[in-house]
């Protein structure tokens, strides 16, 4: 086995894993606060990617520069989805929660299909094809930037949740809904904000991914599943776990290409998922509930 | 440790009460007996057969049934369908299970609600349903977890009459209770635990006078039950 190749794959895996972690962070936040499994997560990310794509094509603004705008747009989208649909189903039994969110994903995906067609699109961004060498390892510049930004955003979210007023309200509402209401927190607004924040986080991840892969309306579902796997791996509702899980999954998928065809990458992820669910369902960083 | 070093016996046809302050470990005892919580140490016997390590459904099949402190009715199905689930653990056919269930529903005074959905029942009736379901499994031993909680005095008296009849028909009863009226009226013996340890055992009259017990909590409750 070529150790250089292995190192290369590990590094590529880590870089991608950082982005996975960011996607999962959004999902974990939504689940941690409201106990809702956002089955439309990947599709919201794909929406973000399209918005970013069109900003790039029509306005010439590089995705990394339009990131904040795109995140804001998807924030609004998430807020609306929560306020109109998700808020009403919070107390429903799980089976009935699944369908509206899955349907929402269906709507978003086909909205994209309707407007922009099924063809793959690859924006030719400035740094898209650049690579650099660190010793024997070749790194895609866009992957490296994506990783760095992903980590920065993740840290930002952590700090935001810990220090800011809204962040404290969010944590209060997720810990104890009744208590939060009693203390005067507008729980509905907090829920809306949390969902929106989760959506925006995922949107950011999508923007970072845009230079790395061809875009099509049907990507969403795969990423929703990847986000699930990362969240379960790291621990539901555990934000640090999302990052750790993302990194592990990224590396696992990448290294697996040494032994398996690339098209079977997801088989590795799903196998990891099943093993974790059976033997450590609370996740690597999850405490015993 | 919720319960430590507790030993006792329930005689055939006896009614034994387990009392103690909140958090004393009473429900933990029930959970161990009924298989929901495997004990770390110790043994459980039902008529010379070991029950330790068995799953709850097996323990029920061996003849020990339980009710829950917070009642767990099958909400969206009828009272009859609820009781039939218990009956089907014993009866071979749905037809005989149905007949038996109707008998038990009648016995428990629930006839008027036979075909109504369980979620439409008020709490006192839900408690009766819980009891009826457990009785449908034809238990030798019945574990009742605070079956009188939340009932007014009339309802408590009605339940006492019912339980006396159940016991008269040969079912041994082990009950956790806070409602002293029920404990005094039904039990032949009482065990008192506090912080997971037995602090007294004897007839209701003896236990009520026990200094340690009174200290633990009995005083106020006893007085209000008397008056």
């Amino acid at each position: 086995m070529d150790s250089d190749l292995a190192l290369q794959l590990i590094i590529q895996g880590i870089l991608l894993g950082g982005i996975y972690g960011l996607i999962a962070l959004g999902l974990s936040l939504i689940f941690g606060v409201m106990g809702v499994i956002n089955f439309a997560h990947g599709q919201m990310m794909v929406m973000a990617m399209y918005v970013s794509y069109w900003i790039f094509v029509l306005l010439g603004l590089d995705p990394y520069l339009s990131l904040v705008i795109v995140a804001a747009v998807i924030f609004v989208l998430g807020y609306l989805i929560q306020a109109t649909v998700v808020n009403r189903i919070l107390d429903y039994p799980e089976a009935m929660q699944v369908l509206p969110l899955v349907s929402m994903g269906l709507i978003l995906e086909n909205f994209a299909l309707l407007l922009w067609g099924p063809d793959y699109r690859s924006p030719q961004t400035a740094l898209g094809l650049e690579t650099l060498w660190v010793g024997p390892v070749m790194i895609d510049v866009s992957r490296l930037i994506a990783f760095v930004l992903a980590i920065l955003i993740t840290v930002f979210i952590f700090i935001f949740l810990k220090k800011s007023n809204i962040g404290k309200c969010i944590r209060a509402a997720s810990d104890n809904r009744t208590g939060a209401i009693l203390v005067g927190i507008n729980v509905n607004r907090i829920y809306n904000t949390s969902f929106a924040l989760g959506a925006a986080t995922t949107a950011a991840a999508g923007v970072l991914l845009l230079p790395l892969m061809p875009l099509s309306p049907h990507l969403g579902h795969d990423f929703t599943l990847t986000a699930f796997i990362v969240v379960i791996l790291g621990g539901m509702g555990n934000l640090l776990g999302a990052l750790v899980g993302g990194l592990i999954l990224g590396v696992a998928e990448s290294v697996s290409t040494l032994f398996l065809p690339a098209t079977l990458k997801h088989a590795v992820s799903f196998s990891i998922l099943i093993i974790i669910m059976l033997f450590r369902p609370q996740g690597l960083l999850g405490g015993k509930k | 440790m919720a319960v430590g070093d507790l030993s006792f016996e329930l005689g055939n046809g006896e009614v034994l009460a387990l009392i103690g302050p909140n958090g004393a470990g009473k429900t933990t005892v029930f959970n161990c007996l009924s298989g929901f919580l495997p004990p770390d140490e110790g043994e459980i016997y039902l008529e010379d057969r070991q029950l330790g390590g068995l799953q709850p459904f097996q323990i029920c099949q061996r003849g020990m049934a339980r009710t829950f402190q917070i009642v767990k009715p099958f909400l969206t199905i009828s009272v009859l369908d609820n009781v039939m689930v218990g009956a089907l653990s014993r009866e071979k056919s749905t037809v005989t299970a149905r007949t038996k269930s109707l008998e038990i529903i009648d016995f428990a005074g629930l006839s008027a609600w036979t075909y109504k959905e369980a979620q439409g029942l008020p709490l006192p009736l839900r408690k009766r349903l819980e009891l009826a379901r457990a009785l449908a499994t034809r238990p030798k031993v019945l574990l009742l977890d605070e079956v009188m909680a939340g009932l007014n005095p009339t309802e408590v008296d009605e339940l006492i009459v019912l339980l006396k009849e159940v016991n008269r028909q040969g079912v041994s009863i082990f009950l956790i209770e806070h409602v002293m009226r029920g404990v005094m009226a039904l039990s032949k013996r009482v065990i008192v635990i506090n912080y997971g340890v037995k602090i007294a055992e004897g007839s209701p009259e003896e236990v009520v006078k026990d200094k340690q017990v009174i200290e633990a909590y009995l005083g106020k409750e006893f007085l209000s039950a008397q008056g």
Partner: protein, 323 residues
């Protein structure tokens, strides 16, 4: 109760005679109504009656379709027999899934994701197996004959699909009133309480998933010999899993007629809007419509449309509470 049976009998007679009056296209819509009603009913056994949510039920349709096709193409085995062999395979895999899920106490979301994982893994596996068509899929030859389960025109498919639905109605009804059916509903309502009443919940969970998987896989045989093209993405993919749960949920989860009512309402909507919008180049609009309808129903009619149907029919048929 008698009135309900009379009504059903009347409907049945009408359905038997319908092909005399409808053209092939309309019959095709009915075929799909029956197909999805049957599949929804099969899924309903696990999720509606037992309460374990499966978002990976496409797995069993895929197994049924691929097994019957493989056996037919390799050994010339008639799908009428092949479908039961496919059923056996489906049951085996379902029991494996069930064992992992129920033994390890996976509930709620974890169970859902387990079902998705199994379907996805199978999709990936089949995509890499040459003998099963790999990424290209399998095209079935059209050799119409009863033995081959293939027919010209929609009329035979119509009656077979109707047969599937009627059989499933009878099977689920028998289940509902049997000991097995009562135990699995008890598990759905409160698994702990069921345990305390002597129900071996692990055993009955396994029975439920096995029945559901078996029934679902039989539909795969129909699918293969009606659509004539198998592809892992369409047969094992999430879109199939999502499609098949829409109708039972909209119609009424855990009820006998829910999946059928749901199919009667959603299938024509889907088929007609798909054809209509595709003509105008508006691909995907019918799925958006689907999604909107599903959300609206869940938000405003959470028990399903069947509640309103029962209310509407109540003057004519007194729905007694007796089982």
């Amino acid at each position: 109760m008698k009135r309900l049976y009379l009504l059903l009998a009347a409907v049945f007679v009408i359905l038997i005679l319908l092909p005399l009056f409808l053209d092939n296209y309309a019959l095709g819509i009915f075929v799909m109504i029956f197909f999805w009603a049957y599949v929804g009913q099969s899924w309903n056994v696990l999720t509606g009656y037992t309460g374990h949510i499966s978002l990976g039920h496409a797995l069993y349709i895929g197994i049924g379709a691929y097994a019957t096709t493989f056996l037919a193409q390799t050994f010339g085995l008639t799908p009428w027999v092949g479908m039961f062999l496919g059923g056996v395979i489906a049951v085996a895999i379902a029991l494996f899934l069930g064992f992992l899920g129920f033994r390890f106490g996976l509930r709620g979301v974890y169970f859902v994701i387990m079902t998705i994982a199994f379907a996805e893994l199978t999709r990936l596996a089949v995509s890499h197996i040459e003998a099963l068509g790999s990424f290209t899929g399998i095209f079935l030859d059209f050799n119409p004959s009863f033995y081959n389960f293939q027919f010209r025109g929609n009329i035979p498919y119509y009656y077979i699909a109707l047969g599937y639905v009627v059989a499933s109605l009878i099977a689920v009804r028998v289940l509902e009133v049997s000991k097995v059916g009562r135990f699995i509903v008890a598990i759905r309502e409160d698994e702990e309480a069921a345990q305390a009443l002597g129900v071996n919940t692990f055993k009955y969970n396994m029975i439920a998933i096995a029945i559901s998987a078996f029934m679902t896989s039989l539909a795969g045989a129909f699918y293969a010999n009606y659509i004539f093209y198998l592809h892992p993405n369409s047969l094992f993919g999430m879109s199939m899993s999502i499609e098949l749960i829409l109708r039972p949920i909209v119609g009424g989860l855990g009820t006998l007629f829910g999946p059928i009512i749901g199919s009667i309402i959603l299938t024509p909507l889907s088929e007609i809007s798909r054809a209509y919008f595709a003509k105008g180049g508006l691909e995907g609009l019918h799925l958006i419509l689907y999604g909107v309808v599903a959300i609206l129903v869940v938000l405003f009619m959470p028990k399903g449309i069947i509640v309103y149907v029962k209310r509407a029919l109540n003057p004519i048929i007194k729905f007694s509470k007796e089982t």
